[in-house]
Amino acid sequence: MFIPISKLLISDRAGDTPVARISGEDRSFADLTAEIAHLCLHIRSRGVNQVVLATKSSYAFVCGMLAAFQTDCRIIVPPNALPGMLTHFVKMECPLMSDICDIGDDNQIVIDGKSGVEPTFKELDPDQCYLDFYTSGSTGQPKRVPKSLAQIENELIVLDQIFGAKLNGAATLGTVSHQHIFGLYFKCLLPLCEGRVFFPEIFEIWEELLAAAPPRSCFVSSPAHLTRIPPFDPLPHEERTPVIFTAGGPLPFEAAQDASVKFGTLPTEIFGSTETGGVAHRQQKDPRTPFTPLPGVQTRIDTQQLLSVKSIYTDGADWDVTNDIVELLEDGSFILAGRANQFVKIEGKRISLIEVEKYLIQSDYVRDAAVFILKEDRATLVAVVELSAPGWQRHQEIGGFRLNRILRRELSPYLENAALPRRWRFVGRLPINAQGKRQQASLDELFASEEGAD
């Protein structure tokens, strides 16, 4: 039975209802409430009204989220738990809640699975509870996208209406992070509200996910994983997955068919963004299968065919202009035609090229850098780097490959794997014309030959 998050802790959900499966053992609803009670105590003792929530385990995230809402805290959700990212947000009056133990020093409330007792939980006011998500911003700084619990609940109710019957109690396992809205909603909150079990880890490889998955589980994944399914035998009929959710970027038609053969169903692609929430969905029977808007979502296009959406859970309940160019059909469904701005999508992650360049230029080895997308078999993030004198020195000692490994390592405290350039060229001077504009054709040319250019 579907219970909204605001009413979950005062509901009559049975204490022995399993919530999450951790290393083969179930955490029950009673365990969850006891752990939340323990965390409430810690938050209150600090007297704060906002927290940063960044966890390894999705179950720890859910515990932290419900405890923070119970204690009237606004929740900041960074896009990842990397130390370079957390320093932007964590301070004494805004402590870190995390199950990762060595990152927040004195300003951390450790989510450690200990139990406590809360005499009475309260019903939450969905208009007063907020999660602040962060996405790649155009200035290179993460951009804040606030979501009220009311918006979140409206969307979860819609998702339950459409997918609840099909999911029918299925356990959920994911390859995506709960620090992003798609992973949080589909992997954690929808199962939590519907009373289904979720697995709190992020599975990096399919073999581990399948080894852990009970028969007929739901998978929450992304194009990065669905385009890289190993040569498995198809799942036996009685174990086939009822629903595979994917989001973040276009899923190639071949990958959809491959997943269908191996797992037993065509992936359900969710189109949306942090700003808009879920907008539309499709199962790609045909490369031109249009996306159908979720109930309550309106769609329109402007003269450039740029899609705008409006729903009960988009921000401000007003038209929200997306960065996607679409072909709009008469019934409101649409076919994606491309993206229209400086953000790029790599492996389903939204990446700001300016942000990657900004961090790259911080290196002592780098004088200037151009980061962009190369359209190969799949889009590849590449970097052309103008080295400093120490950079060339190092290049001579260890060669281009080892040097690019060092630069990737320097970026890794700030950026996720998908945002680390995969192909590199080192040049004496970035190709720039008299007006100071980058010469994209010359930059592309550097990658045209098979061999490295050093």
Binding site: I205, W206, E207, R228, P230, E347, F401, N417
Partner: protein
């Protein structure tokens, strides 16, 4: 250098499209992920698929300590060799 290890180094370079590096420059003992060769989780997916396709073996997370098998070229060579023996038996 062991011939099979060399073959795997070539496979790693080709599959992951690594540039400015020759198979000889990869140390059989150096770590493939994070440190050493600095491969990431996306590389791991690609490499897993390539190895299963090239050698016809199945990677099964239930029985095997995958992280250890994928630690270095040497451990990977050992793992593939033993898996193929099992298939042949």
């Amino acid at each position: 250098m062991n011939d099979f290890e060399l073959e795997i180094k070539k496979l790693v370079i080709k599959t992951l499209n690594l540039e400015d590096i020759t198979p000889e420059e990869i140390d059989s003992e150096e770590r493939l992920f994070v440190d050493g060769l600095g491969l990431d989780s996306i590389d791991a997916l690609e490499l897993g698929v390539a190895i299963q396709k090239s050698y016809g073996i199945k990677i099964n997370a239930k029985n095997d300590d995958l992280k250890e098998h994928f630690a270095s070229v040497r451990s990977l060579a050992r793992f593939i060799t033993s898996e193929r023996k099992e298939l042949g038996a």
